[in-house]
Amino acid sequence: MADNVLYAGRQLLDRQIATVEGRSVGKVDDLEIDVDHPGGPVVSALLTGQIALGARFFGRMSVWVTSTAQRLRETGDTSPRRIDVRLVSSVAATVTLRVPHGDLEPADLERWLAEHFIGRIPGA
């Protein structure tokens, strides 16, 4: 039984998330816990990206990291990027998902820079 226990704080947090073909998605910057789950609280999603990361700093730093990230959102939604826990296939040194790269929404900054800067350089 003990083999199935996962210490979310130590074995999930700050790990690299990768797609099924091994491409980087982001870090596990925070976790979403479902406290209303009938069998007791469970991890319901991995939160990744700058908005989730900002919450882990203190004071002005935290506000700055979160608010710059929120400004990049085109929609009014300001919640962190969320990866449902059902998409996770294995947890080891890397957290591997069962979906390919194409099925995931890209990170905000990545998308913005690809559209406005890097994507415009010849050969990109």
Partner: protein
Amino acid sequence: MLRRPGRIGATVLVVILAGGCAGSSRTDDDYRHKVANTAETLDGVLGTVQVALKVSSRAPAAYLSVTFADADDDASATAGNFDAIQPPSAAADQLRGRLDAVMQDTVSMLDDLRVAARRNRGTELAGLATPLPRLQARLQQLEGVAG
């Protein structure tokens, strides 16, 4: 909180970069040390020149030209730094005069060498460098003034 270590590091760096070697001098003793250090630095520059002259037929022209230019720049910078220090007394003033004379001769010889190397006139270098041993001797004397 998080930014503090970086800030300290940057401050230290700025202080050091801005500090340089020169500074004001309050006592004769301190001034003598500065004279000796300056003479030592110039002596080192002449050491470089001595080796460069020795290899003047064995090194590519461009390389030699840069070497002489670097030496000339070093000597001028050293002289400039030294001249910025005020001598604290009459005795110090006299010491300053002695070093100044050597510095001028050194810089003017290096200027000539630099031009000759730049214009690829390698054969003239040895002739232009005839004052070298005497300059070295004078500088080494001044290195001793700090006692």
